[in-house]
Symmetry: C2
Subunit: 956 residues, 2 copies
C-alpha cells in the first residue's frame, strides 16, 4: 500500500489538490487549491486532510504515524516558497490556521491569525515592516486568539484587560474624558507591550504554562485545537440538527498571513459575484479599509459598498473584478469570496459557491445558460426543492428583526412551509364561520381529523399540539400548500375556555398569531409577510425540467379544486384520488355514509348507498372534466369504517335519530367497529370483500361519470385502483367484479371508454407476490405510507416517541431521514425494487407509480426514477418539486454514467438500471453517492461572512 | 392430445384403476378397483371420474363430449361381464349407483340400489329368483330411493304411504291390534304391488312425469343426482367447515347389485380389521342377516357381533377372515370394510383405511412395525397430531349421550383441546382464591389480559366471550395444555352480578359447567370426563420420531414450571422465554415495573429497575436449572409499556400512592403511552433504544443468574434475544451494549459462560435485510406471529371481522387455513425462506429457528424443516406434536425424493432443498403436493357406516 498522503500544498500557481476534493480537503482547502491552480493570487499554504481528523478520533486522539514529519516537510516547503522562516527574529513567516470541513459548519474553531509571532520574531516583524506598533498589535491579537480559541481561555479576560489598560493608561496619556470611548488604534506601541506582558500572564495563570515561544509548538497547539473543535458540543449538535452524517472530519488550513491592516492601501472584504437576493448579474459585497478579517466579522466599523471601494482604490478593485470574471468562468456559478488587500495587492482567502435566495437561484441558473456558461441540465440540477417552495409560499419579512424576537411564542414542527397570520380559533366549524366573514383564521387544534377538513381548508394556517410531519394535519395541509405547524407539544389547549397557553402566555379565540411554516415558529400578533412572485426564470427552468425528465408526474387530488390547482402546476394526471374524502364534504354526505355503516344487512346497505351514488357520480364528473385528456386513478374506499362514525354519545344519538333506529343499535355498531390496530384492520379492499355493495356503488359512480363526460366530449381515462391487496386471488376476484359492473354501465351508456383496473401495493405480502398480482393488474401504485409502516413495523402515528432516536447519528442511526418523509430506500426501497422486477417479469407493460407522501420528496422521487417507475404522484403543491426531482434524476444518471464509463464500472451498475437509465443509456444506474453529495453541498455552507449576506428567505 | 378417459371398469379380477387413484376415482372407486385387482370378490362395475364432475360444473352443468358413449360402452361391458342386461324382462342387470369423492363427505348423495328395475324387469327378477315378494320389495325400495335421493321428493311421503298401507291393508289382513307395530316384512307381495302403484303416483305428482321405465334414463337420472349433490348446500358447507379445498368433485360408482336380503344365508355388514378403540389385533364389526345396506344404517334390528356371525355362518365368516388377512397384508394398515353375503357368497362393497382412536393409532402403528408389515418411518407418518392431543388431554365421556344433549349450553371456538369441569368464576383473583381451596374452577371472562395470568393458571379451564385461536387466552392456555374455549360471542357476562347468560340460561359464580375444548362446546353441570393414559406404544413411536427427525424442538416457556413440563415432553431447550410475563407474577413485581414506567428520568428508572433485578435474577436461575445442559433463549422485554400500567382511575390512584407521586402525573404518563396502533408502536428493542437502562438490568439479571448457576455446576447456555429489530445498525448497537454488560458480569463473577446474542426476525424489514443483521447476530428466531401481522397487514386482534372470508373458498380464498394458526407459506413463508438464504450467505453457521405460535402447528413445522431451519419452538404441550411433525417432514422428503428420482425431476426441486433434504439427500426438496394430500387423507373419510364405529375421541 502506498503511503497515505496527509498534507496537500498550494502556492505560486501550483496546488496538489483541486476544487473537487472537498471531502478530503474541506471546502476551504479545496477552494484555495483550485484558486491557486487557475492562477489567482492566493497566499501559499497547505491543508491537513479530513482523513487525519478521522484517524485522530479513531485512534483515541492520536495522530497517525508520519503526520508530524509530513507537516514539518510542508512547513519547510512553505518557508522556501515564501522566503521566510517560522520564528525568524529577522523576517518571520506568519501563518493563519483555520478549520474547514467538507460542509461549512458553525461551532467549530474558526481562525487563528498571526501564528509564528514570539517575543523574538515580533521584533523581526517590526523591523521588516518598519512598523513596531503593527507588529505588537499583531502579537497581542495572536496571544488573545491562541489563548481563547485554541486553549479555551475565556476571551473576556483578554478583552477586560485591554479595556482596563485603555482606561488606566491610554486615557490618562491622551486625556480622554471618562464618558468617551477609546479605540484600539489609540493604544500606542508602548502600551501594547504592557498589554502583551499582561496577556502572557493571563495565559500562564489559566494554562499553568508560559505562552509558547516555539512557533512549532504554537502550530501543533492550533492544529490540535482545530481537530478538537470537531467534537465540541456545538459542532456535534449542529451536525445532528442539520442531519449531516458520514462526514469524516475537518481539514486544517495553514496559510501564509497577508495583512489588510497595513494602512489605507490595505483592507479586507467579502463579496458575491452576483446579487444573491435578486440574482442580477451585478457585483455585490462589502470592503473594510485597514482591517483584518476579524474586524469585518466584529462589525465595529461600517464597511464600504463595492462601488465605494472602486472609487477609493480603483487599482485594487480592478484586480478583484478580474478575479470575479475568472472565477465565474471557471466555476460557472455565482461565487462567495473572501479577500484581503495588502498594500495595494489583492489576495484571495476563500471562494465557494454562493448561497442565494430562491428567486436568485432561478435567475442565475437561467442567465448562466444564456451566457452559455452551463447547460440546461446543469441549470436544472442546481435548483433545490426549497427554491421552489420558497417562490411559491408567502414568507415572514425577516427584516422585522426585533418584532420577530419580541413576538416569538414557541416552536413546533415545520410541516408545511409558508407563513400565515390570522385570528386564532379552536374548531373547524368556527374556522369556517369566521372565514365566511372574510377573516383570516389560524385553526389551532390538539390534532385534526377528517371531520375538520372543511375548517382546515377555510383557515389560512393550521397549528396542532400533536403529530408529526405526516400527521393528518400535515398531509392535508401539504396538499393545499397551506402553512402548517404540528407537534407543538408545549401548547396547552382548553377547548372549553377557547384559549391556549404556551410558555406562560395565553392566547384566546380571536387573538392574532402568525405562523412561520418554514421553521415551525409561532408568533403573537400579525407580522408582516412578503408575498411570492413567480419569476420568468421559474417558467424557463420548469420548461427545461419537462424536456429532460422521463418519468411522469401526477398528483394526489380528491377534489376538482385540487385537480385544477395541480394541473396548473404541471400535473399530468391524478395518481391518487381518495374517494373517502368526498364523504366528509357535507352533512348530507356524511349522513349517507353513516347510514350505510349502520345498516346491518346488505339490503339496507344498498339503500344507503343509493343516496351516495349520485353524489359520487357528480364529484367524479367534475374531476374528469378538470383532468380532460389525462389519466385519473381513483382508489376505492380505503379507511376503516369507524373513521366515518361519531364516537361520542351525542353524535351517536343524533345519528340514531337520523337513521330512525334506537341509540343502542348505533352504539353497538360503532363499538363493534373498534379496532386494536386499525392500521392493520378491516379496511382497504377487505371492505369490498365483506361488503361488495360498496364496490358496486363506487364503480357505478366512476363509470357513469366517465360515460357522461365522454358523451360531452371530455377525454376520460379512468383507472380504478383496489387498495390494500395481499394476493392475486383476492385482487382478481375484485377485479372481475369491477369489470362486470363497468361493462354493464358502458353497455348501458353505449360509449367507448378506455379504463384500467389496477391496485395499490401497500402490504409487504403484495410486494412479495407482485408477479402474481401483476398478471391480473394493469397498473401498480406503491402506497408507500402504509408500506413503510408495515415493512418497518412502525405506526406513523406512534413513531414520534422513538423515531427521533432512529434518525439520530448517535443513537440507533438507522435512517438518514424520517422514513415517512423520505423513502427508506435501503429497506422499503429494496422491496419495491424487487416487486417492480417481479411485476414487469409477469407483465412487461404494467404501469407503475408511487402515490404515498414520498411522491413529493425529491430524494424519494429520484429513487423512484432510478428503479424504473413510470410516474410519481405528489400533492398539488409538491408537483413542481417532483417534476424538478425527476429531471435531476436524469441529469444525475447521466453524470453517474459518464463517471461509471470513465472508470469502467458500467457493467457492475447496469444490473440496477432503472427507468431513468433505460431512457438515457442501458449502462447507467444509480448515481455514485459521492457525486450526489457534492452536488447537494455545492450551494451550502453558512459561515461568518454570510452574516453580511441576506438569508435565502426571499427578502428583497 | 389423447382422448380423456372418463370411465374406469373393474370386474372379474381385473381393474383399469387402482388404489392410488383416489383423486380421480374417489375413495370408493379406488378401493373397489384395488380389491378387484388383488382378487377379492367384488361385484363388477365401473367408475365415472371426478374430472367429469369438474368439467360438468365448469361447462355450465353439461357433460363433456363423449361421456354418454363411454358410459354406454361400459354398461355394455358390464352386461357382458355379468351375462345380464339392464331392463331385461327375463333376467335384468341391477346396479347400485353411489357417489364417492376423494375424501369422504357427508351431505352428498349416498346410494341408489336396485337401479334397472322397471314394471317389466321386475317380473324377470321375480322369475329368476323365484321370489316375487323379494323382487317387488326391491322395486318399491328403488322407486323410493330414486324418487327421494335422485329426484328430491320428500322421503316422508313414501314412508307415510307405506305406513298407511300397512295400517289400512296389512293390519286388517293379519288382524294385528292397533297398538302393535307392523314390520316391513309383514307386507305381502300383493300389498307391495299396491304400494308400487301408489309410489309411482307420488312420483308423478311431484315430478310431473311418469316414473321412468327406461333403465338408461334411470341411470342418467342417478348419475346427474350424484353430480348435483356435489354442490348441494350441505356438501358445500361441509367442505367449508372442514377446510377441504382443491377437490375436483365426486366420482360415480355403478356396480352390479348383490343382495344381502335373500334369506338367512344372506346378510350385510361392516367391520374393522383391528379394534379401532384399543388397536388390539382382533376382528371387530357388525353383521345383519337377511338385510340390505340401508337396513344396517336404519338401525331397525340389532346386528350380530362378528363372533356370533362366525357361529351362525362359519363358511361365510371364513371367506371374510381370508379377506381380512389379505387386505391387511396388502394395505399394511387397519381397514374398514363393507360387505354383503348373498346366499352364502361374500362380496366386498367397500374398503378403506379405518378410523381409529388416538390410543389405537399408536398401538396399531407399533404392532404393524413389529409384524414387519411397515417400517418405523411409515409408522411415524401415520400418526396425526390430533392423536397426540387425544392421548394427552382429558376428554368428555361421549357415552353419556343424553347428558351431553341436555346439558349443552353453547358452542365457542375450540382453542385448546381437552375437557374440564369446574365452578364458574369471573375474575382472576377469585379463581386463585377458589383454586387455593382445592376447588376446580372455570374462569369466564370477556377476554383475558396479562394481569389475569395467575387466575388462568389456577383455573381448570378458560372460557372467553371474545377472541380467536390466537387471542391472549388461547395462546397462554395452549402453553399449559389447559382446556380453553374462546370467542363464545353469545355469552353475555355481567361482572357485577357475577353471572353470565347464554341462550336464555343464566349461570352464576359457583355454578358448575363443563368445557369441551376439542369442539368448543360448553355444558351446564359437571359431566363425566375420561382421563388419558399414555400407552407404551406412544413412547415407542416418539423414540422413533426422535431417531428420524433432524430438526430440533425447543419450547416457549416463561417459568421454571413450564420449562420442566416441556422438558418432560421432549423439549431440547427453550426457544422463547418471554421476560415480561415474569413481571405480572406478583403485586411486588408489577409495582416495580410500573414504578419504572412512571419514572420520568433515567435515574428514577434505574432505581425502580434495581428492585426488579434480584427478582428477574432468581427467575432466570430457576429456569437455567430446569434446562441444565440445554440452550435457553431469553427475549428482552417486548410489549409496549402501556400493557403494564392500569388504565382505570382507581388503579392509577393506587399506583400514584404507591409511587408517591400525584395522581395527575400517573394519569399523564399513562395517557402519553396510549398508541393508535400498539402493534406497530413503541415496543421491542425500541424500548431498549429509548431506555437502555432496561436492557442493562435484564442482561445483568440473565448473566448473573447464568454465572451463579454455572458456579453450582449447572450447564448454562444463555442466548439473549433482541426483539423487533429492523436493521443491522440498530441490532449491532444493542448487541454491543449487551456484550458490554455481559462481559462485565462474567469478569466480576469469574466464571466461563458461553452465551450467544441474536435476534427475533419479526418485521418485514429485518427479513429483507437479513444478511446485514446476520453478520452481527449469532442466531435468528422468526417471530411469525408478528411477522404474519405485518406482512399481511392484518392485526390478529381485528382480523376476526374479515379473515373468515379470506379462508372461504367461495370468497377471497386467499388462505387454506387461518394464517395465524398455520403459516402462510406462500407469502410469509417465501419471505422467511429468502431471509434464511440471505442470512446463511452472510454467516454460514447462524442458528435459525421459529418461535411463533406456528412452531406447534404440524404443517408449519414441516415447512420450517423444508426451508432449512435448525429448530422450531413450541409451547410445552405442543412439543410432542412438533417432534412428530419434524420427523414426518423427513419421511415426506424421502418419499418426495424417491418420487422425484423416479420421475427425473430431482434437479428442478433441489434448488428449494431445506434442512430435511440437506440431511437426507442433497437432491430432495419440497414433497410433491399430491403425495401430501394422499397421506393426509388416507386416514380420513367418515360415512354412514362409521356410525357404527366409535368416534376417535378415546371412548373405551
Amino acid at each position: 500500500m502506498p503511503k497515505q498522503k496527509f498534507v496537500y500544498f498550494f502556492g505560486a500557481g501550483k496546488a496538489e489538490g483541486d476544487g473537487s476534493m472537498k471531502e478530503l480537503l474541506g471546502g476551504k482547502g479545496a477552494g484555495l487549491a483550485e484558486m491557486t491552480s487557475i492562477g489567482l493570487p492566493v497566499p501559499a499554504g497547505f491543508t491537513i486532510t479530513t482523513e487525519v481528523c478521522d484517524l485522530y478520533y479513531k485512534n483515541g486522539k492520536k495522530y497517525p504515524a508520519g503526520l508530524k514529519e509530513e507537516v514539518q516537510a510542508h512547513v519547510a516547503k512553505l518557508e522556501k516558497a515564501t522566503g521566510k522562516k517560522l520564528g525568524d527574529p529577522k523576517d518571520p513567516l506568519l501563518v493563519s490556521v483555520r478549520s474547514g470541513a467538507p460542509v461549512s459548519m458553525p461551532g467549530m474553531m474558526e481562525t487563528i491569525l498571526n501564528l509564528g509571532l514570539t517575543d523574538k520574531s515580533v521584533t523581526g516583524l517590526a523591523e521588516k515592516t518598519g512598523n513596531k506598533r503593527f507588529a505588537l498589535d499583531a502579537y497581542r491579537r495572536f496571544i488573545m486568539m491562541y489563548g481563547s480559541t485554541a486553549m479555551g481561555i475565556d476571551r473576556e479576560k483578554f478583552d477586560d484587560e485591554f479595556e482596563k489598560l485603555k482606561d488606566e493608561v491610554t486615557r490618562k496619556r491622551l486625556k480622554v474624558p471618562a464618558d468617551k470611548k477609546i479605540g484600539d488604534t489609540d493604544v500606542n506601541a508602548e502600551e501594547l507591550e504592557t498589554l502583551i506582558t499582561r496577556y502572557k500572564a493571563i495565559y500562564k495563570k489559566a494554562i499553568k504554562k508560559d505562552f509558547p515561544q516555539d512557533p512549532s509548538e504554537q502550530l501543533w497547539g492550533a492544529i490540535s485545537a482545530v481537530f478538537g473543535s470537531w467534537m465540541a458540543d456545538k459542532a456535534v449538535t449542529y451536525r445532528k440538527v442539520e442531519k449531516l452524517v458520514g462526514i469524516k472530519g475537518t481539514a486544517v488550513n495553514i496559510v501564509q498571513m497577508v495583512f489588510g491592516n497595513k494602512g489605507d492601501t490595505s483592507g479586507t472584504g467579502v463579496c458575491f459575484t452576483r446579487d444573491p437576493n435578486s440574482g442580477e448579474n451585478v457585483f455585490y459585497g462589502d470592503y473594510l479599509i485597514n482591517a483584518q478579517g476579524e474586524d469585518v466579522v466584529a462589525g465595529i466599523r461600517t464597511p464600504l459598498k463595492l462601488a465605494d471601494f472602486a472609487r477609493k482604490d480603483p487599482a485594487a478593485y480592478k484586480q478583484l473584478c478580474d478575479v470575479r470574471v475568472k472565477l465565474e468562468k471557471h466555476y460557472k456559478d455565482m461565487q462567495d469570496l473572501e479577500f484581503t488587500v495588502e498594500e495595494g495587492k489583492l489576495y484571495m482567502l476563500q471562494c465557494r459557491t454562493g448561497k442565494r435566495s430562491p428567486a436568485a437561484a432561478f435567475k442565475i441558473a437561467v442567465d448562466l445558460v444564456e451566457e452559455k456558461l452551463i447547460t440546461k441540465e446543469t441549470a436544472v440540477s442546481r435548483i433545490k426543492s426549497s427554491d421552489i417552495e420558497g417562490i411559491f409560499y408567502p414568507a415572514i419579512d425577516k427584516t422585522q428583526t426585533s418584532e420577530l424576537k419580541n413576538a416569538f411564542l414557541v416552536q413546533g414542527i415545520d410541516a408545511v412551509p409558508g407563513a400565515a397570520s390570522g385570528k386564532v380559533c379552536f374548531s373547524a366549524d368556527r374556522a369556517e364561520a369566521m372565514a365566511a366573514k372574510n377573516e383570516s383564521v389560524i385553526l389551532v387544534r390538539k390534532e385534526t381529523s377528517p371531520e375538520d377538513v372543511g375548517g382546515m381548508h377555510a383557515a389560512a394556517g393550521i397549528l396542532t399540539a400533536t403529530g408529526g410531519k405526516t400527521s393528518h394535519a400535515a398531509v392535508v395541509a401539504r396538499g393545499w400548500g397551506k402553512c402548517c405547524i404540528v407537534g407543538c407539544e408545549k401548547l396547552a389547549i382548553d377547548y372549553e375556555k377557547k384559549v391556549f397557553t404556551v410558555n406562560g402566555v395565553s392566547v384566546s379565540e380571536g387573538d392574532l398569531i402568525t405562523l412561520d411554516g418554514s421553521n415551525g415558529n409561532v408568533y403573537k400578533g400579525a407580522l408582516k409577510l412578503v408575498m411570492p412572485k413567480l419569476p420568468k426564470s421559474y417558467e424557463m427552468i420548469m420548461k427545461w425540467v419537462d424536456e429532460i425528465r422521463t418519468v411522469k408526474v401526477r398528483t394526489n387530488a380528491d377534489t376538482p379544486y385540487d385537480a385544477a390547482a395541480a394541473r396548473l402546476r404541471g400535473a399530468e394526471g391524478i395518481g391518487l384520488c381518495r374517494t373517502e374524502h368526498m364523504f366528509f364534504d357535507t352533512e348530507e354526505r356524511i349522513l349517507a355514509i353513516r347510514r350505510m355503516i349502520i345498516a346491518d344487512n346488505s339490503e339496507d346497505r344498498k339503500q344507503a348507498l343509493k343516496k351516495l351514488l349520485p353524489i359520487q357520480t357528480k364529484d367524479f364528473e367534475k374531476i374528469f372534466k378538470a383532468m380532460d385528456g389525462l389519466g385519473v386513478t381513483i382508489r376505492l374506499i380505503d379507511p376503516p369504517l369507524h373513521e366515518f362514525v361519531p364516537h361520542d354519545k351525542e353524535g351517536q344519538q343524533l345519528l340514531a335519530k337520523a337513521c330512525g333506529v334506537p341509540y343502542e343499535v348505533v352504539k353497538q355498531r360503532v363499538d363493534k367497529l373498534h379496532e386494536a390496530n386499525p392500521m392493520l384492520g378491516h379496511r382497504g379492499c377487505r371492505l369490498a370483500v365483506t361488503y361488495p355493495e360498496i364496490l358496486d356503488m363506487q364503480v357505478t359512480a366512476i363509470m357513469t361519470a366517465a360515460c357522461n363526460m365522454a358523451k360531452k366530449g371530455v377525454k376520460v381515462f379512468p383507472e380504478i385502483m383496489i387498495p390494500l391487496v395481499i394476493d392475486a386471488k383476492e385482487f382478481s376476484m375484485l377485479e372481475q367484479r369491477v369489470r362486470a359492473v363497468a361493462s354493464e354501465i358502458i353497455a348501458k351508456k353505449a360509449v367507448k371508454i378506455q379504463y384500467k383496473v389496477g391496485t395499490m401495493i401497500e402490504t409487504p405480502r403484495a410486494a412479495i407476490l407482485a408477479d402474481g398480482i401483476a398478471s391480473h393488474a394493469e397498473f401498480f401504485s406503491f402506497g408507500t405510507n402504509d408500506l413503510t409502516q408495515m415493512v418497518l413495523g412502525m405506526s406513523r402515528d406512534d413513531a414520534g416517541k422513538f423515531l427521533p432516536d432512529y434518525v439520530d447519528e448517535h443513537k440507533a442511526a438507522v435512517f438518514k431521514a424520517d422514513p415517512f418523509q423520505s423513502l427508506d430506500q435501503e429497506g422499503v426501497g429494496l422491496l419495491i425494487k424487487s416487486a417492480i422486477e417481479k411485476a414487469r417479469g409477469a407483465r412487461g407493460d404494467i404501469k407503475i407509480g408511487i402515490c404515498g407522501e414520498h411522491g413529493g420528496d425529491p430524494e424519494s422521487v429520484k429513487f423512484c426514477c432510478r428503479i424504473g417507475m413510470d410516474y410519481v404522484s405528489a400533492s398539488p403543491f409538491r408537483v413542481p418539486v417532483a417534476r424538478l426531482a425527476a429531471a435531476q434524476a436524469v441529469v444525475e444518471a447521466k453524470a453517474s454514467e459518464s463517471v461509471a464509463g470513465a472508470s469502467g464500472r458500467s457493467s457492475a451498475r447496469s444490473a440496477s438500471a432503472g427507468r431513468v437509465a433505460r431512457k438515457t443509456s442501458p449502462a447507467a444506474g444509480k448515481p455514485a453517492a459521492a457525486s450526489r453529495k457534492t452536488a447537494a453541498s455545492s450551494g451550502e455552507g453558512a459561515k461568518s461572512a454570510a452574516k453580511k449576506a441576506p438569508a435565502r428567505s426571499g427578502k428583497k
